[in-house]
Chain length 406, copies 2
């Protein structure tokens, strides 16, 4: 079997063994159909097969206030639909297992996620768990994916995670304060509907998180070593520039359609693997951030905005060429020595998160040494190596987190 | 039925009715699996299904000199393979119909194109024609695609057309001096193998054509009107910058692996629809160029390099904002008034083609008024409208071609 790009994310330990100074060999395939634009939710009825029993999954009910629920229900007239609401942010294993039980009992044949990344990620887990023989938590801990997963699709209501066009999912387990990801080509959405008008009613805090999350998805696939991959680099920069330039227009109370559309497409392109074929990837900021969410309940986007400036400072030497490239091509920082450009770029990155209204220090959230110690303990216990080529050790994790204390 | 992006290319007349000043609604789906890198041809045996009778198509035999034929045959040991060689540049309807006959008689179940754009395009036509009921030329003239097309895959030997990762094909008919395109999601390659090492032995003239062709594929999807699509624009610029910067390193006798890899990925990304969702598209330079090939036998890349500077000059007003964007972001032209930047950008574009060793005037090829008159007559007879929003009339076509006389 050829290795597939999703292993870059879900199996970092193998991935990290690959050392290269030129474009890596890669396999790329992303089969998801994107239906993008105004009024596209009505096309659901043409995209779905009648005859299958559909489970429609959603979150805490915001879709009932912003009109999306009504649009979906109207498009699904004549279909057999079981609703499963209440999937929480950082979707919980125990919640999702209730949906799995219903799918098994009712013979559900297709899953339709109506929501943001948490709902879509949770639905990917349901798709894999329904047919899993054994303890379903192993899908996360042992990366065991059954051969048959239920097909799924999505109506995206919150641009942020890219889950609508990728094969990854992150699942939490509140009972044990754990948070893990898994990925498999079997859980790509068959299609995803992206109507930028859903952005109008998203609360500012969620938009800020989505902008930070999308930006850092790109960073994880870009800010490693420079191995002469100009297309991937220019594309990554194009997504980041768009996020930085669009952010102020998206954060106003009722943003214009153009800004919503560009933000929405940016968030998808930030993690649909278009920018990552053949490049080295990091993901240490995400791994550390996941622990902050699991232990302290912080929003995912917030944890990334806290951790990333630390990752850039502590890993500045191996990432130097790319930090300078980021500064020049995204933040227009060209004056000064290389070291000065690095300093200014790290500063500009942190200031961008602050411009979204996100506080970027652990002390802003009353998080201190005890949490840092627990996170380092967990990574040590798991024997985890993080970052491109496994260069981020638990010593680095500790330094990164301590640099974010105050 | 939702409209699909391939209609942008294969059905310009409908497409041109869409007028917009913001990102268009779009449907995107590209299912082709790309297997990219050194030594990947050997993976053929894992990618193909045993049991199907495979037709292996190729061109004039260069693959027998550069080692690709041997690599493919070795990987296909144990498979049932019928060879069909001799597909010419600008693949001919009559040649391809011979392959169609063999497929029907032998019950071929899978097509493997080993070659460049002409071989892959020709193989797409074979895939569609085998099951076509009626005059197979109607696939081109009436855009009639049968419901069942044979599945196909490719081993790319010449980066240029992007056919290895798109759903389009251009077919010629020497008997009537015609050249038409067609497109359908049914003819996406199932997979394509891209080993950059095949570039080492490509003759300089072919590499020059491939670089020009790829550059102008991007131009056709970029140089229209500015409708606030920053990701698509930055990505288009990223591909063009990579082509411009890599070209001199690719044109040397035995280029380095990095340059070959970046050139190869650029040519694929130039026309795999990653840069085009929601943007307006032109394709008038291609339509005019096709006629020059059909009537005078010029290389495809050469015809585009001749026509494009004329298109930019004659359509400079509606394309002004994007020509300036091209100048600034690809050729680093920032000084001067807007009109001066436009002039310099058109000049830089033509000089880029000349730097590849391509002569860019009709007089360089002894082509004069008679050919221009025939091309204009053909467009008039077909009632064709060209360009974004149908803004390129036959009067414009005449002006464009006359501007390229000397």
């Amino acid at each position: 079997m050829v290795y597939n790009f999703f292993y870059y994310i879900c199996d970092r330990r193998n991935y990290n063994l690959i050392q290269t100074k030129q474009m890596n060999n890669f396999v790329f395939q992303n089969p998801t159909k994107i239906v993008f634009g105004k009024g596209t939710i009505a096309q659901l009825s043409e995209l779905l097969y009648k005859g299958e029993k559909i489970m429609m999954t959603y979150g805490g009910g915001s879709i009932k206030k912003n009109g999306v629920y009504d649009q979906v229900k109207k498009a699904l007239e004549g279909f057999t639909v079981i609703e499963f609401g209440g999937i929480e942010p950082n979707p919980d294993f125990d919640t999702l297992m209730k949906a799995v039980d219903i799918c098994r009992k009712e013979g559900v044949g297709f899953l339709l996620a109506v929501g943001g990344g948490s709902v879509i990620d949770g639905t990917k887990f349901i798709a894999a768990a329904v047919e899993y023989q054994g303890d379903e938590w192993e899908i996360l801990t042992k990366k065991q994916i059954p051969n048959d997963c239920l097909p799924l699709a999505s109506v995206l209501t919150m641009p942020a995670t890219g889950s609508e066009m990728n094969s990854n999912a992150v699942i939490s387990r509140r009972a044990t304060k754990e948070k893990f990801d898994f990925g498999s080509p079997k859980v790509y959405p068959v299609f995803s509907i992206l109507d930028p008008e859903v952005v109008y009613s998203i609360p500012k805090r969620q938009k800020a998180n989505g902008l930070a999350d999308s930006f850092i998805h790109v960073i994880e696939q870009y800010l490693t070593d420079d191995i002469n991959t100009p297309i991937q680099d220019r594309w990554a920069e194009g997504v980041m520039k768009t996020i930085v330039e669009t952010a102020p227009k998206v954060l106003v109370d009722r943003p214009d359609y153009d800004s919503c559309a560009n933000y929405m497409w940016a968030a998808t392109c930030a993690l649909n693997f278009f920018i990552s074929p053949g490049v080295n990837q990091d993901w240490s900021t995400h791994m550390i951030g996941h622990e902050l969410t699991a232990l302290c309940g912080l929003d995912h986007g917030v944890t990334l905005a806290i951790v990333l400036p630390g990752t850039m400072k502590v890993m500045r030497e191996p990432k130097k060429a790319k930090i300078i490239m980021l500064g020049k091509n995204v933040f227009n920082i060209t004056a000064g020595t290389d070291d000065e450009i690095v300093d200014k770029t790290i500063d500009a990155t942190e200031k961008f998160f602050q411009s979204l209204g996100i506080k970027t220090l652990l002390s802003d959230y009353n998080i201190g040494d005890d949490v840092i110690n627990e996170i380092v303990r967990r990574f040590r216990e798991r024997g985890a190596v993080l970052g491109e080529h496994g260069i981020v050790t638990y010593d680095h994790v500790e330094k990164i987190l301590r640099s974010r204390l105050a």
